[in-house]
């Protein structure tokens, strides 16, 4: 074997001992790489959180509704209107108790008068009547 060939063989061995320092596929397809390892666990965690929140919210709503119902109706025994049972029409709420023609002013006594003055005024009214 010639001297040059020996040198070339030695250099070839050294040449083949070199390796790419990294993961080339991961460097070129980073998103795919991340997606493969990150998205499924992240999706599972998100689903679990949403489900847990849903269950907790429903439970809280049920508790609040029960509390409101119990506050509004302390006795939960069902009641029935007697009028509805007898078929009587209930009285209207906005009825006039006196016709407008009979409206008159009722003079109110002045509380600034003394007792004597009041007596005198009463007697004068009786006399005129």
């Amino acid at each position: 074997m010639s001297e040059l060939r020996k040198h070339l063989e030695s250099a070839k061995r050294e040449y083949h001992s070199q390796h790419y320092p990294g993961d080339l596929a991961a460097e070129i397809f980073p998103r795919k790489h991340i997606a493969r390892w990150l998205i499924p666990p992240a999706a599972a965690a998100a689903i679990a959180i949403v489900a847990w929140m849903e269950i907790t919210t429903q439970k809280n709503q049920r508790q609040v509704a029960t509390a409101i119902h119990m506050t509004a109706n302390p006795a939960t025994v069902p009641t029935t209107e007697p009028s509805s049972l007898l078929g009587v029409v209930p009285m209207p709420a906005n009825i006039d108790f006196a016709p407008p023609s009979l409206d008159f002013d009722i003079s109110t006594p002045s509380f600034s008068l003394s007792v004597d003055e009041m007596k005198e005024k009463t007697s004068t009214t009786q006399e005129s009547t």
């Binding site: 040059l4 040198h7 070839k12 083949h16 070199q18 790419y20 080339l24 460097e27 397809f29 795919k32």
Partner: protein, 182 residues
């Protein structure tokens, strides 16, 4: 490599299967890195060149014709990337130094430095580094990557005769340098 990377994987990668393309990249990363390191002589530059090669490989994979091996075809991409990088580096150096490249000495070594290079491995590495670009490309592909003359020619985008002549010149230059240095 061709035995490890079966035709099915290559076909799947050509159709856009990312998993198959990732498998090819994993297999080709080391040969690309070795070649780029041998040509650029800098690990960071070699790594950048491999990443650029990988991007172009994935982008142009659908253009790959099965009349050459995937290894040969991809080595052609790596060669082009390193040529572009060296051209860019030379332009930068030229602008920084403001001197014509041809006027610069290829390697200036002191007698002490030459004395340090007494190991045969270092001796040859230094000699290969001093070779012109094309001779270095041909030597690495033909002798170190063990491509055939035709495959080397395909990777270098030249004729087989040119490869033979280039390798002959490279070996003759190496012999001369080894004789001088030893």
């Amino acid at each position: 490599l061709d035995k490890r990377v079966d035709q099915i994987t290559v076909e799947a990668a050509r159709r856009g299967d990312r998993e198959a393309a990732a498998k090819l990249l994993a297999e080709l990363a080391d040969p690309w890195f070795r070649l780029c390191l041998g040509l650029l002589r800098d690990r960071d530059d070699a790594r950048d060149a491999v990443q650029e090669t990988a991007l172009r490989f994935v982008r142009d994979l659908h253009k790959f014709q099965s009349n050459s091996s995937i290894m040969t075809w991809s080595m052609g991409i790596a060669i082009n990337v390193t040529r572009e990088m060296r051209r860019k580096n030379r332009a930068t150096e030229s602008m920084e130094n403001n001197e014509p490249i041809a006027a610069m000495p290829r390697i200036a070594r002191s007698p002490n430095e030459s004395a340090v290079l007494n190991e045969s491995r270092d001796l040859l590495r230094a000699s290969i580094s001093d070779l012109p670009e094309r001779q270095r490309e041909a030597l690495l592909l033909r002798f170190f990557e063990e491509l055939s003359v035709e495959e080397t020619a395909a990777a270098m985008s030249c004729a087989s005769g040119t490869v033979k002549a280039t390798i002959h010149q490279a070996l003759r230059a190496l012999k001369m340098k080894l004789k001088d240095l030893s």
